[in-house]
């Protein structure tokens, strides 16, 4: 293997793949980046066995071939190279790097040791606008569960059906759901449970205006656009029926200024228990009252003006869940809906007259108030 590449292209490739290199691994080859040189340029790949990233970058290839080389080291070196063409060539399992007067030899490992990334045929897949995909991911992936007992909840549910793309994530305490019309080309109907780590790579590597091809092959899912590919293993299992738990009969609605609510919650949460982060909220005619009482710590009382004309209700929440949800429901005004103190509450964005408001809903389960 022997090729010459611009410093920019080398760095671009390294930046794309290196985030997938596992920090600690028992399989040394995973610390390496796979370089594959052919007539069209080079491909660089890295994987942690769950998620893999591959990128094609232009290079002047003199001799085709492949090799793996230590990812972190090459990155450190490339960062400080002068702005001149970089030549990489292999000598046995070593890779030689030359750039201007700089010359390095790094020990690598044979390309055969590197795990093969899945083969996914993108012809049988579908496409999605980068913009849509990124928005869906951003609004939902925060809500996945970190508990190990229900692996399906560790992923984001991605549904394609009825001309819509939806993503849903929940940890059983709160849930986020977003829907986006998929456009006329979308014929596929499918349901996937995608690990958030892979979605994070998608978010990082694909631009808003990218046309992203997506395809599934058995247990693997691939994303591809402009020479960059992300592969991931899918989470197996049946996602719980989330539609069923999203309340349809919440009849008490509060219209709240998001910033005012956010800072009130932050204020009172300062005296909430560091275990439960519990705060109590009471709604009555156009008023929202906060109360927090934590033995050994103290108490807080606060109040903001809201639009509310339902029956009075008092309900407890984990302040962290509320704050998180408010961060993603981006509009100035939000709508909170309730039925009863022990039932799910929902938070939705509210737009002005002609704003484009996303079809987004967050659900937060209350904390039971000990009385």
């Amino acid at each position: 293997m022997n090729f010459t590449i611009t410093r920019q292209n080398l760095q671009k490739g390294l930046a794309a793949v290196s985030a997938t290199i596992p920090g600690k691994t028992t399989l040394p080859v995973l610390s390496n980046i796979l370089f594959e040189a052919d007539a069209d340029g080079i491909r660089m790949s890295a994987t942690d066995l769950d998620v893999g990233v591959r990128i094609r970058v232009p290079a002047d290839v003199k001799e085709a071939g492949s090799l793996t080389a230590p990812g972190k080291k090459i990155q450190e070196i490339a960062r400080e190279l002068p702005d001149q063409p970089v030549q990489l060539n292999s000598r046995g399992d070593q890779v030689e790097i030359r750039c201007g007067k700089s010359h390095f030899k790094l020990n690598g490992l044979p390309a055969d040791d590197f795990p093969e990334l899945p083969q996914v045929g993108f012809e049988g897949g579908w496409t999605a606008e980068g913009r849509d995909l990124l928005s869906l991911i951003r609004h939902t992936s925060f809500a996945v569960s970190t508990e190990e007992s229900r692996p399906v909840l560790n992923g984001v549910l991605w549904e394609l059906r009825d001309g819509e793309m939806r993503m849903v994530a929940t940890n059983g305490h709160r849930l986020a759901r977003m829907r986006i019309p998929a456009g006329p080309s979308m014929q596929t109907t499918t349901q996937l449970i995608v690990p958030p780590d892979a979605l994070q790579q998608v978010q990082r590597l694909f631009a808003e205006d990218a046309e992203v091809s997506v395809a599934r092959d058995g247990n693997q899912l691939g994303f591809s656009s402009g020479g960059t590919e992300v592969y991931t293993r899918l989470i197996e299992g049946t996602y719980p029926n989330y539609e069923q738990v999203i309340p349809k009969d919440n009849d008490k609605h509060a219209f709240v200024n998001r910033k005012a609510l956010e800072s009130a919650v932050k204020r009172v949460a300062a005296v909430a228990s560091d275990q439960t982060h519990r705060i109590r909220m009471e709604f009555s005619q156009d008023r929202m009252v906060f109360n927090v009482l934590t033995p050994d710590l103290g108490e807080a009382h606060d109040e903001i003006e809201v639009g509310y004309d339902g029956d009075p209700i008092s309900i407890g929440f984990n302040a962290n869940y509320l704050l998180e949800v408010l961060r993603y429901v981006g509009t100035d005004e939000v709508k909170m809906s309730f039925k009863a103190p022990e039932r799910a509450a929902t938070v939705e964005p509210m737009g002005g007259e002609d704003d484009q408001v996303p079809d987004y809903l967050c659900l937060v389960m209350p904390l039971r108030l000990a009385d």
């Binding site: 970190t146 508990e147 190990e148 007992s149 929940t170 059983g172 305490h173 709160r174 849930l175 719980p240 738990v245 560091d274 275990q275 439960t276 519990r278 033995p295 050994d296 407890g316 984990n318 022990e342 039932r343 799910a344 659900l363 389960m365 209350p366 904390l367 039971r368 108030l369 000990a370 009385d371």
Partner: protein
């Protein structure tokens, strides 16, 4: 020398709990050594032959007696230690009955040699079976020697019950142990025939004394107790939880310098250990109680082995609290090295019992105000009495410092540097060296105390679940869930029986982000239904649930924690009452002191 011994009036004598004073050689030794200590001896030598059956000899360098006293001392109810029934209350000397010498003299060949300080000649009195054979001059240094030969020569029934020499000799060294703890400044020697069985110098170092009596292994794991309770001031040594073992243990209780037995007080001390040691473990306990005059009645048992407390409940509570406080301190934590950091513990006698204002003159309050033993010299306001105690200061006055709290662990206001290692332990750099914290054990302690607090405060609201958990359990488990419904609710679990073997969980507590509610609940109900050492060690239903919950809900080994989580765990652990011990009776923390590190590296 002026006479100091008086015959107690019958009215007083009749109030004294009397009985068989002399049961076996060991009881003779006990009485004679007590007399020597009452006489402010600084050195007591005991020599026995054939387990004391042939000969017992106790010599002291105490006050000695003039001739008149020497003769009187052999009369029944003749004592210099009390005069009136009032003085019985709060009496600080071992003796007060005036029974021991006459009883011993009546069943043996008995020789008393004594010489009072400042007298030219001493007195020798020879008695056989209670009859005085001779009273003569003798030459000796100040002090007293009592020799008892042919014990029970006129009581064949008693003689028959004596055991082998070895057994009797062992009994003799057993009776010396508590007396030597009560007077750590007195040199004590025990010889059997030609063999020296015990030789403890009176340095006042209690740990050294324990070491001499009972060996290094036990003495190495002792930590100081020091607590001024509501009525009792409690000092002493107890075993570090990680050193305590099931089975045999050493226990010594003393009140106002007097050894005694008391199951209730001992149980209170054991209660102080609750949750810090596994069930069935029996820590060593050596406690010195000081109580105000009149609180402890010593006149209840013929051989003074028991004491009656006027406010027993409070004394027990003081003892429990004293032990618990000792276990709160850093010294109670497990160490990596073999030698725990028990500082030099110095006992200091302020006023020996016989040094109290001589009987009759001293008022009761004066007598009661004197503390016989002050452990850990600097603590407390008790001024050392002039005399021997003053001299001792120079060589043994080192005070024992007790860490005032966890803030002291750290240098300044800066938090410690913390690392998680192998996803199971947290390494903390603290002033004294390194702490190795077991993340699971530490979190158990945190959750246990938190949930117990919440029980008291009316309970914890649970997190409602979007997808209620449907659990299939066994029938006894479902019954357990039902019977615990109220408590479970207060712990944050809203469990609804759904008929048959099914229970639905609508809400669950959320003690940390990695909490697996279903698994924790299942394991907890299983443990509560089928029992375990842990839940058997609990005192009541609240504790049982709290322990089980803490154990099942705590962060597990293998859980990676980020820096903030590590910090929180550390802070929360050291905000608990017993940060060094988890609820199973294992350490949460192992200390590696700088001293130990330096030793290991040969510095």
């Amino acid at each position: 020398m002026a006479r100091t011994i008086q015959i107690l009036a019958d009215s007083v004598a009749n109030q004294i709990a009397a009985g068989e004073v002399v049961e076996r050689p060991a009881s003779v030794v006990k009485e004679l050594v007590e007399n020597a200590l009452d006489a402010r001896a600084t050195r007591v030598e005991v020599a026995v032959d054939q387990g004391g059956r042939r000969r017992i000899r106790v010599s002291d360098d105490g006050t000695g007696m003039g001739r008149e006293d020497a003769l009187l001392s052999l009369d029944r109810h003749a004592t210099s230690k009390i005069r009136t029934a009032e003085e019985l209350r709060g009496v600080r000397s071992f003796g007060f009955r005036g029974e021991a010498l006459p009883s011993i003299a009546s069943v043996s060949r008995f020789t008393l040699e004594t010489c009072a300080r400042g007298e030219e000649v001493g007195t020798r009195i020879r008695v056989r079976g209670g009859t005085v054979l001779a009273v003569e001059d003798c030459a000796r240094t100040p002090g007293t020697t009592v020799e008892v030969e042919s014990l029970f020569l006129n009581a064949p029934a008693r003689r028959k019950f004596l055991r082998s020499s070895a057994v009797e000799t062992r009994a003799i060294s057993e009776v010396l142990a508590p007396l030597s703890l009560a007077h750590p400044r007195v040199d004590l020697v025990l010889r059997s025939g030609e063999r020296s069985l015990l030789e403890v110098p009176g340095t006042g170092d209690l740990v050294a004394r324990v070491r001499a009596l009972w060996g290094d292994e036990g003495a190495d794991g002792l930590i100081p107790v020091e607590h001024d309770g509501e009525v009792a001031a409690v000092r002493g040594l107890v075993q570090r939880p990680d050193r305590a073992r099931p089975g045999f243990r050493r226990v010594q209780l003393l009140v106002d310098g007097r050894p005694f037995r008391d199951a209730g007080i001992l149980a209170a001390a054991d209660r102080g250990y609750r949750t810090t040691i596994p069930q069935g473990t029996r820590p060593w306990i050596i406690l010195f109680l000081e109580v105000p005059g009149g609180t402890a009645d010593v006149n209840v048992h013929p051989t003074k082995a028991e004491v009656r407390f006027r406010v027993r409940g409070t004394v027990e509570a003081d003892v429990e609290e004293a032990v618990r406080r000792a276990l709160e301190r850093e010294e109670s934590a497990a160490t990596l090295g073999s030698a725990p950091a028990t500082g030099a513990m110095q006992a200091r006698e302020s006023a020996g019992p016989a040094r109290r204002p001589s009987a009759g003159k001293g008022t009761e309050s004066e007598g009661a105000g004197e503390a016989q033993i002050v452990l850990f010299g600097t603590v407390g306001a008790t001024e050392p009495a002039p005399g021997p105690a003053e001299e001792e200061k120079g060589r043994g006055g080192a005070s024992h410092e007790i860490d005032p709290g966890v803030a002291d662990l750290l240098d300044g206001a800066r938090g410690p540097r913390l690392w998680q290692v192998h996803r199971a332990w947290i390494l903390a750099e603290v002033r004294s060296g390194l702490l190795l914290i077991d993340q699971h054990a530490a979190h158990e302690r945190i959750l246990f105390e938190r949930i117990m607090e919440r029980f008291d405060a009316g309970g914890e609201g649970g997190q409602r679940l979007l997808f209620p958990l449907t659990l299939r359990l066994t029938v006894p488990e479902v019954e357990m869930v039902q019977s615990l419904a109220g408590l479970l609710h207060r712990a944050g679990f809203e469990a609804e029986p759904f008929g048959g073997d099914t229970v639905i969980l609508h809400s669950v507590p959320n003690p940390h982000p990695y909490f697996d509610a279903e698994r924790a609940f299942r394991e907890m109900i299983d443990e509560l239904t089928h029992g375990s050492d842990l839940v058997r060690s609990a005192r009541n239903q609240h504790e049982r649930l709290a322990m089980s919950f803490a154990c099942k809900a705590a962060i597990k080994a293998g859980q990676a924690l980020d820096d903030q989580e590590i910090q929180e765990l550390f802070d929360q652990l050291f905000a608990t009452r017993l940060p060094w011990h988890d609820v199973h009776g294992r350490p949460t923390t192992v200390r590696l002191s700088l001293g130990e590190l330096e030793r290991k590296f040969g510095r």
